[in-house]
């Protein structure tokens, strides 16, 4: 009858429970993992994708490397180490932190993740007229300062692109990337 089936089920359940607990106790380290991902991992992943979907002008092309420079690397955790060295169209993606010694003739992507507006404006002034893809994460960044801006919508990372500014600097953005972006233009007339 159902009784013996139930008993067998009980033993089965308990053995399985014990196995689970044993596995847990034996696991040497449990790392935080969840289906939601830390914000800067996604931003790092997006920037690696931007490197793939943007074309730099021939005369500036660094033949072996694609250089990504960030203002503040501490928020990224391990993410920057993981994208460092990634192969993009045969070149290596090299990640570094910006400082006063940075040579902007050798940088292809600049991530301005500092809340200090003056510091951002200083760096932007130094890459004016150079084909550097400028990325930020503050409201209005793509309208007023740079080319791509990250924002959050419904807990997901989205981005805006100021296409005109990028084209003026000599950068070509793939349609695959433009399709996913919100296109914005300069807030002041030019």
């Amino acid at each position: 009858m159902l009784a013996s089936l139930a008993r067998a089920k009980n033993y089965f359940l308990f053995i399985l429970l014990s196995a689970c607990l044993l596995a847990t106790h034996l696991a040497t380290s449990l790392h935080a993992q969840s289906s939601k991902v830390p914000e800067y991992y996604i931003k790092a992943a997006f920037m690696a994708n931007f490197a793939r979907l943007v074309e730099w002008p021939k005369h500036n092309r660094n033949t072996t490397n694609l250089s990504l420079c960030v203002m503040d690397s501490t928020v990224f955790g391990q993410a920057l180490n993981s994208i460092n060295g990634k192969k993009i169209h045969g070149k290596n993606l090299l990640v570094s932190t910006c400082n006063s010694k940075t040579d902007f003739d050798r940088i292809q992507i600049l991530f301005l993740n500092s809340p200090d507006i003056k510091a951002r404006k200083d760096l932007l002034a130094r890459c004016r007229e150079k084909p550097v893809l400028t990325i930020g994460e503050s409201p209005g960044f793509a309208q007023n300062e740079g080319m791509i801006n990250f924002y959050k919508a419904k807990n997901r990372i989205r981005f805006e692109i100021n296409r005109k500014r990028a084209e003026k600097a000599g950068l070509k953005i793939s349609s695959r990337l433009l399709k996913l972006a919100k296109i914005v233009s300069d807030s002041k007339q030019e």
């Binding site: 009784a3 359940l13 696991a27 935080a32 993992q33 955790g77 349609s175």
Partner: protein, 652 residues
């Protein structure tokens, strides 16, 4: 075993749970996102550093999410085939274009007990009592994810969510912009063409229009005779998303669908169209409201010939549902809802069938209440809820459930659930009709006309109770596991009985005095290291027992299922995948589901930013195999061939 003993056992489990070690989260993150396609990155939910809320993967239920990447890597091009990826799902292809799909049940028992929803609309046929997959078309490119919940969801979803729920969620119109054309050619005689165009009006209105069709050739039986299962499908539709503010969104969707087997001597045709509107509004940052209203009209014509208009059945449903999700406090979430459905069932009389009522109206109404309370913030949650449901033919009945979720640390969780669900009779069961047809007498070898009367009484809901327990963990940075164990009991299980008041005249009635019970488990492991490789393995087991009280007969069956998947990303543009599926034999009466081992291999190649190609070989190990065998009526034992599928997609 008494309910009291069962509760004691659950409390013991709880004590054990509290002894689990708590380990601090470390800084290592999910490197797999660094390899994802940019389109997929758009769909990943983020948490700001050091904030963990309740994650979907921590739902106190056995949930499998099949996301876009898995859909692509599986090489499957038909939605019911994709359901194989969820452990515990039983998917049986019985025809070139038709499948049975159910969770935690034997195939014959699946009718009426698996709810399938697309964007909140049920696609369950209340005439047939199941989901008729050949009457559905899915554009896989526009699907965001498929949520497969094994176990009852009566409290949230109502009737017929007994063994499980499949929620198919399509991508928002904003994500499906531009022009996309998809063609699929299969060596099994399948040709599919689908196209979609998405655009934007102003700042806040996004839309898409789609059109598609498929043509399938018939398969053969072991004697190389064609089994008349060809299928032609045509579908077209639209979706509009309007989001005037970030707190409000308004979605309108509609589609028209036709499928026919186009067989010259006895065609079967299905048509349906629907219109659905969903309004979501965040009243405050803690209160979300949603209202969905939809209309669906399905009509089926069976056995239409040049001389006979066949037998037609139409169902028209109008449904309205309202939900509120209210976070009343940091540790408390209250959910409630109400629903109404008005359904008209119109079976026409045909050559061999005569219905007593050619128009039956069904009313459905339900309310549900549920509360999730954090007994220990960020560690222990208790959810309790109930749905009260009524339909015009059976009594008011309730579907309660109670669930517990324990997270000893962010990387692992354990859950328990106790639920009750109901299966209501389908419209055909409830109707009274007379059938008149020639039948073959195996004793005398002659064909005689018989009359069968089906009386739709008595009508009762089948009652189902489930006890479930599950465990999920990220055991190491690259290795995660998901385990569920369950025990189900059903009473009021229906079967047919008949009397023969005169020779060749039968009267069939329903009995609800059978019982069944089942226990089983699903275990899966995922391996996702840094680098281009990843793999998953899953095993599921079901032991089922059904007792027929009138015949004093008990039938026991057990089935095993095993699957392996391997994925290798050779470069940014080239991905290889391999899959292995093993099903053990299942036999009930004269029907046998043979044991089989299936291997699929696939390649996906991205030619340019806007073009991609995929080549998949399915069922590679054997020239043909059968998934279901009737040992008495052998004509329709379909042989499924080794198939090569070539799929080309252009996205401008």
């Amino acid at each position: 075993m008494t309910p009291l003993k069962k509760s004691l056992h659950f409390f013991l489990c709880l004590l054990w749970l509290c002894s689990l070690p708590t380990v601090q989260a470390s800084e290592t993150g999910p490197d797999y996102v660094l390899d994802m396609d940019i389109e997929d990155l758009m769909t990943v939910e983020v948490i700001s550093v050091s904030k963990y809320g309740q994650l979907l993967k921590d739902a106190p239920a056995a949930v499998t999410i099949i996301d876009r990447e898995q859909i692509r890597n599986s090489g499957m091009k038909e939605l019911p085939e994709l359901l194989r990826l969820a452990p515990g799902m039983q998917v049986i292809r019985d025809e070139a274009g038709n499948w049975f799909a159910s969770a935690r049940s034997l195939f014959f028992d699946a009718n009426g007990k698996m709810l399938v929803m697309v964007d909140g609309r049920s696609v369950f046929s209340q005439d047939a009592g199941s989901v008729i997959w050949q009457n559905q078309s899915f554009f896989l490119e526009d699907i965001d994810r498929i949520e497969v919940i094994r176990g009852p969801g009566g409290t949230t979803w109502g009737y017929n969510a007994v063994y499980g729920i499949v929620n198919i969620i399509s991508r928002p119109a904003r994500e499906t912009q531009g022009f996309l054309a998809d063609t699929l050619v299969g060596s099994d005689g399948n040709l599919v063409l689908q196209s979609r165009f998405g655009g934007q009006i102003g700042e806040n209105i996004f839309y898409r229009l789609f059109l598609g069709g498929s043509d399938r050739d018939q398969f053969e039986n072991p004697n190389k005779e064609p089994v008349h299962d060809m299928l032609k499908k045509r579908t077209g539709g639209f979706r509009v998303d309007y989001s005037p503010t970030s707190a409000t969104s308004f979605i309108v969707e509609g589609a028209v669908h036709r499928s026919t087997d186009d067989y010259p001597n006895s065609e079967n045709r299905h048509k349906n169209h629907f219109l659905s509107t969903t309004l979501s509004h965040s009243l405050t940052s803690d209160i979300d409201l949603e209202f969905q209203g939809y209309y669906n009209r399905s009509s089926d014509i069976y056995y239409k010939t040049d001389f006979d208009q066949g037998f037609a059945v139409t169902i028209e449903d109008s449904t309205a549902e309202f939900h509120i999700d209210w976070r009343t406090a940091v540790n408390n979430r209250f959910m409630a809802g109400a629903g109404l459905k008005y359904s008209v069932f119109t079976p026409e009389d045909g050559f061999a069938v005569d219905f007593l009522n050619n128009r039956e109206v069904w009313h459905f109404s339900n309310i549900f209440l549920s509360d999730e309370y954090a007994l220990i913030p960020d560690k222990l949650w208790l959810t309790a809820g109930v749905k009260l449901e009524h339909n015009s033919r059976s009594d008011l009945d309730w579907q309660p459930n109670i669930r517990l979720l324990y997270k000893s640390c962010p990387a692992q969780s354990m859950w328990l659930a106790l639920s009750r669900a109901l299966k209501m009779p389908d419209y055909r069961d409830a109707a009274t009709y007379v059938e008149n047809y020639p039948a073959f007498d195996q004793n005398t070898g002659e064909i005689r006309d018989i009359t069968v009367t089906w009386t739709g009484q008595p009508l009762k809901n089948e009652k189902f109770t489930a006890y479930e327990i599950g465990y999920r963990a990220q055991l190491t940075p690259v290795f995660s596991t998901d385990i569920a164990v369950y025990y189900n009991e059903s009473t009021n299980v229906s079967s047919y009985g008949y009397v023969e008041p005169s020779p060749d005249i039968y009267s069939v009635f329903y009995r609800y005095d059978n019982t069944s019970s089942a226990y089983g488990s699903e275990i899966s492991f995922t391996w996702k290291p840094e680098g281009p490789w990843s793999a998953t393995a899953a095993y599921s087991y079901l032991a089922n027992k059904i007792s027929y009280s009138e015949e004093n007969y008990t039938e026991k069956t057990c089935i095993h299922r095993l699957q392996f998947h391997v994925n290798h990303r050779i470069s940014d543009n080239l991905i290889l995948n391999g899959h292995l599926y093993w099903n053990s034999e299942e036999s009930i009466g004269s029907t046998i589901l043979p044991e089989y081992l299936r291997m699929d291999l696939g390649v996906q190649y991205r030619l340019t930013d806007s073009m991609k190609l995929s080549l998949t070989g399915q069922n590679l190990l054997k020239k043909t195999h059968r998934e279901i065998d009737d040992s008495v009526n052998t004509f329709y034992n379909t042989e499924i061939p080794r198939t090569l599928l070539l799929n080309f997609t252009v996205n401008l």
